[in-house]
Symmetry: D2
């Protein structure tokens, strides 16, 4: 029997923390050994500390774990973080300096020069930043982040075009689900039958993070992509699933078949490469009226995004709809992929082996 | 006491027809004398024929009117049409040829060369088309149309910029309410907690109608505006009120204060010019998170649109949110304004006077 | 010109507090002179302290008022309270002992022996308790409470039957709007497309408060009504308006016409008796499918309740639907009526006159 | 390899028809061989005829089936019917007389004396009616019906109490999902943010069908149960899942533990008895605020109902919440169980064997 790598989850009671538990409690490589959250929760059993909102019942393996404080006393060296951004900055930094590997969904360190901001299928070369990060902090620990939920969905949809034809301009309007605001998040009084045309800092995140994701890793640093991107963000009364209306201008002008082919080829390169990778990272619809949250958010267990209605744009070149599950592909799921990539690529293997006395061969 | 002009309403049982009744039953110039609809309704009292969905009870003055067929036998010469587009084309044409004045919300004749497509505050010069329309059909009757609901809201928001600085490119993503699809319209099973990223023909209407609205009337015809406009349309679980996320590129580059000033000035020119004109045609919000359907659709009784969060766009020049009540400002309300404009400007006065033996002075 | 009575509003930033402001800022008898709330808000202008959720903009007269602490330093002697029940108990009690008149919507003192729990149209005789309350606390101040939102709507619907025919058993199932939970209240993630079949303490409040309301005031105390009442409470994704499905067993068995007559007569006795009284306290629908929140919550400005579909019950005698606006008739509106009743009936007049140097005649 | 029984589905394009397909396309005993619907659909491939609303894609095995008319020309002798009640009456009757076995979800024949109305776990003895039905119509064919969606959920929740302690009175208020009205069903304009306190004929169905279900089968007929039951029905903006607030009076008075035990025992008798039976027919929650549609409708693939918050009732004896998936357990799923029961109990075996040349042993 393989021994699993013990991991901890920071911010375990939040929406992303709960989703991380759902994705990891039965994972073949990882074992949820420790849970941590804020003072309010620390010291309680997870069952008492959490307002559990996942569809599955609380996994029995974590029910009675005692929630810890976010102090550098974890036995697990691999920590997933779904911490609230009001506290994530310092906690994650301190833990990394202590030697912990932090797989973070929080926004705080995403744009730091030495911190990789990664969707493995899109820019895994950026993992290369880890080396300089370790050096900078003089620690075996480091932080790897995944982008904002809308950014991930957008960036995956753009990746085939960007890589194949180049992109010059992007305008994206988002229709974002309430779960993107965490829990308790958006009060029902504000959103029932309503649209809120503003999400704090969201447009800025989409506009900046995308440039880093599509940036080039060279000489131990990222040169940001030379794109113009503009985001207009809205909250809508949908539970899960961000829908994006996207217009793009490509560098190279190509017919629609080539656009579709680029998606098919992107899938070929990326499918199933990691344990949690979807069968197809992008599914494409011929029906005009898809994708829709009610049908498509759980595509490939929420790890695949869906694109529909690719059509000519009068202003830029093409326009289309893209949808993804904001808590899975847009957050916890991509974090899990990032961790799986690290393991698969042996980047952290030696370190984890020493700490855990694990036979490297077993991890592959 | 003034005598009122008797009017008829075609398609009286539909969503737009009901809204027309709500706006006209107590109108100082018009008296709802006749109601007409499809075979299913004809012969019944209005109360029996209609599934009334307005907030106010059915006005007592129309309750017992017998719904007529849409045949050219109306005593009223001024007819408002909220007919379904599957039948509006022929019916309206035939009635116009018979000498009736048709104020239509239906899409069928909007793009015809001799038919004006009008928002009075934006392009009232286009009423000049009536003359050639009458000549073409050799009839005293004619058709005046108002644009599609989303187009009206968009065009009003763009009008100050277009007139003052010129516009080159527009990308607009819509988040449209279910009432825009009429009644019964969108099945609840399709839209509860969902987004539908497609509305049949809607993008095309927005893209084409806007060019006609901003066109120049010269030598008895409209030269379309030279703009690039691209629309991306979505249905959201909102009852009333279309929210639009808009990006624009202006010809002349100006700072934000000038943008705001252009709105203020546009209001000055247009406010209160007609009986049903809003006090402000455009209200502007300083809060980032407005306008919102739950607060703002009934602004100035639904006749004013609201704009918020004007900010720089990385791809074009400016981006903002605009909201309007799709059934009032976006449909029935603009139709009513069109009729009021005709009366005020004596265009139809002589004709109506002869037919109705009305003292012209009273109509002003 | 009449001078108005200066009043204060405790808990001014909450949902009920905001509704009190909406109902009182333009009131002919009262002037909002002071606002108070928790530590978080105290010291800020109201505009800065509040997340304003009412349809009307913040009244200019309260915008710049500095929010005070809830300490016994108010100049106004008449205080409306929409305080959170976690703090209302002590604050209201202390203020009453200091001599303030508290018109409270909070639950804390409702069931206290000497505190009247009043819907003026239903049990105004209970104001008689004030005398013993003053004696008990040896203060000119006192507390008057209004019932829980669901209780008010239910009790008004039952009052005609109870007074005319007697009631033995009541089973009521509620479908309650989210605004009943205050703001931020119910997280959207919990209620979008969902039903929550539990509202903390709500069933208990309905079952107990109703017995007190229908109790007899004799010898300075209330003898509770001898009824059996059972409540089953649900939260539904509705913004405003509690819908109640009610079954009742009357003491005297009567035909449906008598039931309807009792409502008509109840209205005759109560309509328009106070400034904020609705034209009809109860409106009755013949349509089976009414009342509905989307049509009927704003009946008589939200002060009237609506009843529909009265029909035979196989288990008890009659069943029907009743709907009311939970924040207006079910909370702030009834509080305002309670204050108006006090003024109209001179109960507090002498006191207020002395304190405010007001000419009594003007208050009537 | 087992040979499967070929079956047909009438009303295949409707909400229940689609759910039947979802439940049957991969069923070990049945093979969907024929699909039928109205004139509008007949002659088209299923894919063209249907607006598919299920989560799974259209099963490939039915995609290209040509939809037939509902005429007695089916090769399959076992027909499931999700026909609209406007046509189901005659069609089902005629087909039964021709020798077809009809497993119907339609309301039309439910209350006919010789037609069994069955939830297999509750009243399988009623299958005994088939004999007299065959005799009456002089046909090998017959109709078996399942109850109305709300009735099924209610009746299952009551069965343990009824069988163990007897029931005298039941009051039930329903909060029903929109999918219960079929497709397109409830217009979104009517139900977004609203409650509709009326569902045509629904209260009557619940009140009458329950008495038949709990009736005794003796001497080839059903003697209805001697219960008083009253239903109050509401539509709420929920997609799937009917929530019921129930109060009951038992004949024998028992403490809560015995109530809970009766559920446990009822489960023991019924679990897993048929291929599609849920692991638990009733799951019970200790949390006060469950069951909820968002968490619990898919319990045991939608075949199990969930009960919560059993508590004392002041008017009757006990009150509780019960929830079930209206399209699965409340319709198509119970129909499938009825068919499975027939096969398992050999009632139709000889007949089907002769017609299909099937080895009986294989069917067990």
């Amino acid at each position: 029997m393989k021994s699993k790598i013990k991991i901890g989850i920071l911010g375990c009671t939040g929406a992303v923390g709960q989703k991380l538990i759902s994705l990891l409690y039965n994972h073949p490589m990882f074992e949820i050994a420790e849970l941590a959250a804020s003072e309010n929760s620390a010291g309680k059993t997870f069952e008492k500390a959490v307002l559990w909102k996942e569809q599955i019942p609380i996994p029995s393996s974590v029910k009675s774990l005692i929630v810890k404080n976010c102090l550098p006393k974890f036995e697990s060296k691999l920590l997933f973080s779904g911490l609230d951004s009001r506290v994530a900055g310092n906690i994650e930094m301190e833990l990394a300096k202590y030697g912990y590997i932090i797989i973070s969904n929080s926004k705080n360190h995403r744009m730091e020069e030495s911190v990789p901001l990664i969707i493995p299928e899109v820019n895994s070369s950026h993992f290369g930043l880890i080396k300089s990060q370790k050096k900078k902090w003089n620690s075996e620990g480091f932080i790897v982040t995944n982008p904002n939920c809308s950014t991930i969905i957008l960036a995956i949809s753009l990746a085939p075009l960007y890589k194949k034809f180049g992109l010059k301009k992007i305008i994206v309007t988002t229709l974002q689900a309430v779960s993107g605001a965490g829990y308790p998040g958006v009060p029902s009084y504000d959103i029932l039958g309503n649209v809120i045309p503003f999400i704090k800092d969201e447009e800025d995140k989409i506009e900046k993070e995308t440039l880093k994701i599509f940036g080039k890793f060279k000489k131990n640093k990222i040169t940001f992509a030379d794109l113009k991107i503009s985001a207009l963000c809205n909250r809508v009364p949908v539970k899960n699933g961000h829908t994006l209306s996207v217009s793009v201008e490509t560098e190279k002008k190509v017919p629609k078949e080539k656009i579709l082919n680029s998606i098919v080829n992107f899938n070929k390169t990326n499918n199933n490469s990691l344990h949690s990778s979807p069968k197809n990272i992008i599914d494409f619809f011929e029906q005009f009226d898809r994708p829709q949250p009610m049908f498509d958010i759980n595509n490939h267990n929420g790890m695949g995004i869906t694109i529909g209605n690719i059509r000519k744009c009068n202003v830029l070149d093409w326009k289309f709809t893209v949808l993804g599950h904001n808590l899975i592909r847009g957050a916890a799921g991509t974090a899990v992929l990032n961790a799986e990539w690290l393991i698969k690529n042996n980047l952290t293997l030696q370190y984890l082996r020493n700490k855990f006395n694990i036979n490297g061969a077993e991890l592959k």
